[in-house]
């Protein structure tokens, strides 16, 4: 039972990550490889504020979102004037720089030792320590994020983003300021990723930089590529598939020592096959054209 609850909690956390990245990949056509950096920034900001300054969980969560949004401008400003490969490379650069800071700034983040003993989130005097209560909290947040993104994607803002994805020049000819739309999409997506970070830290009660590596960014990207992007169905299908896949492999009796490798080999292979036969993923809309 606990095992099932754990998987459900991880699914809600990855829902938030993939739904927010979808705003960039699926709606704006930006292949960003630094989502784990914002996930990490959210986790570290809220954890440090809770543990060093004694802030309450909701305030720390909001601060994490804020810091993540501000830092996202550092990537958004130089890179969003660039297209395709240059944007991918800059986002990669940001991912590596953030990881270096988390790993090497030992006096603040304790570097490779990580931060143990993070308290469970507390809200209105309730502590979300047990698995069912935590699942309730994370589900509520995931639903909230889903709702916000649902409204956003059907709003004029969302439609402009789709227009940029389909034809940037046409959209700008209609008088839309392309860079500022892209920057907003990036800032919003980064802020939402930080929510996952705070949740993750409060759930596992221990964080270290290895949870927020380039591999993690690639994993979040793979969720979208496998499930599909450009609508809200894709990220949901992708998250379910990618989070449940390793558990399914466990039941197939693949030894634990090679399981992570086998899992990644499967999704590496899936990426190649999907890109050839079905670039929009299992349930997505955007075909990367």
């Amino acid at each position: 039972m606990n095992y099932l609850l754990h998987i459900l909690i991880m699914i809600t956390i990855y829902f938030i990550l993939s739904l927010s990245l979808n705003l960039l990949v699926g709606y704006t056509g930006l292949l960003s490889l630094c989502h784990a950096a914002f996930y990490g920034i959210g986790a570290y900001t809220s954890t440090l504020l809770i543990m060093k300054l004694g802030l309450s969980f909701p305030l720390a969560l909001i601060a994490g979102i804020g810091v993540s949004m501000i830092l996202s401008l550092l990537v958004a400003y130089p890179s969003l004037r660039l297209k395709g490969d240059y944007f991918v490379l800059t986002s990669l650069a940001f991912q590596i720089i953030v990881f270096s800071i988390l790993y090497n700034w030992v006096s603040l983040t304790r570097g490779p030792y990580g931060i143990p003993g993070i308290p469970h989130p507390r809200l209105f005097g309730l502590e979300f320590g047990s698995l069912p209560s935590f699942l309730a909290l994370s589900s509520v947040l995931a639903f909230l994020v889903f709702f916000i993104l649902y409204r956003l994607s059907s709003s004029p803002f969302g439609r402009v983003l789709k227009a940029i994805r389909e034809d940037e020049i046409a959209a700008s000819a209609l008088g839309k300021k392309i860079p500022s739309f892209k920057i907003w999409a990036f800032v919003i997506a980064s802020g939402i990723a930080a929510i996952s970070g705070s949740l993750y830290a409060g759930y596992v009660t221990y964080i270290d930089p290895t949870s927020f590596t380039l591999d993690e960014s690639i994993f979040i990207m793979a969720i979208l590529l496998v499930g599909g992007s450009g609508n809200l169905k894709g990220p949901i299908v992708g998250t379910l598939f990618m989070v449940i896949l390793p558990e399914a492999l466990r039941f197939l009796g693949i030894p634990d020592t090679v399981a992570p490798n086998v899992r990644q080999m499967i999704y590496g292979l899936l990426l190649i096959l999907l890109m050839y036969f079905r670039p929009q993923g299992i349930a997505g809309e955007y075909k990367f054209e």
């Binding site: 292949l31 490969d85 991918v88 940001f94 270096s100």
Partner: protein, 291 residues
Amino acid sequence: MVLQLLANGIVTGCVYALVALGLGLIYNTTRIFHIAHGIVYTFSAYMFYTFVRSLGLNVLPSFLLGVISAVVLGIMIEAFLYWPFFKKRASLMIVFISSLGVYIFLVNLIAMLYGNETKVLSPGVERTFHIGSMILTRIQILEILAFVLLFPLFVFVLKTTKLGKLIRALSDNPTLLTVLGADVRKLRIWIFGLGSFLAGVASCLTALDVGLDPHVGMEAFLMAAVSMIVGGIGNFEGAALGALILGIVQNMLIWKISARWTEALAFLILVLFLLFRPEGLMGRRRRLEEV
């Protein structure tokens, strides 16, 4: 001390340069953001390791076989992956993602078969050479030599041979080249072969020097990509200049700041270039939106 760091920087830069020249050759002609170049690099080092350790061959033949493995893998990726996509007129983004797929697949295969830990190839203490106040090992000198020999050869092939002319034509105007009846498929195979050859040489030399682990390729790819942009996209030789500068700056700064920051530093350089000089050092001056 400064001279020693400079020497180390030149060695690092020469290795980066070989990978970057190959990556630049591929990027400038096919426009594929060839992240699988990283796995070609890793694969080559592991094949070298296998030939030496498991099959007990001598270092020199193993080295050659390691480089040949790189060429074979590079050509296979082009022939069985990129070419079908090219035929389908798939977008470059799709090709990039499939390239990432190849990288993920093979890096995990290698990690599964060989383990994640660092492996060492060189048998013991290397012979060192003193040049003034600088000390270089024999392999470091070989690394410099590889660049000093291969770079002029690369430029020579590019500037004077028929193949070089075709490569430059493909980079200028691929459509026109097809119209003129050139065999683009064969040409692309040559390009991937050459690029992977350079990566293989760099990889096997580095494996001898500092050892290997499954993630060496990603780092090599990232540094090569940064070098390529610092040097200037569209310019085949620029990547070498970018790589040398990157290697030297990284090593000189070890003097002032900790070595743990070198990777972050490389990317800081990248971001600064993208902000202030996106066309790179030797690239044609273009507007930012064009690049």
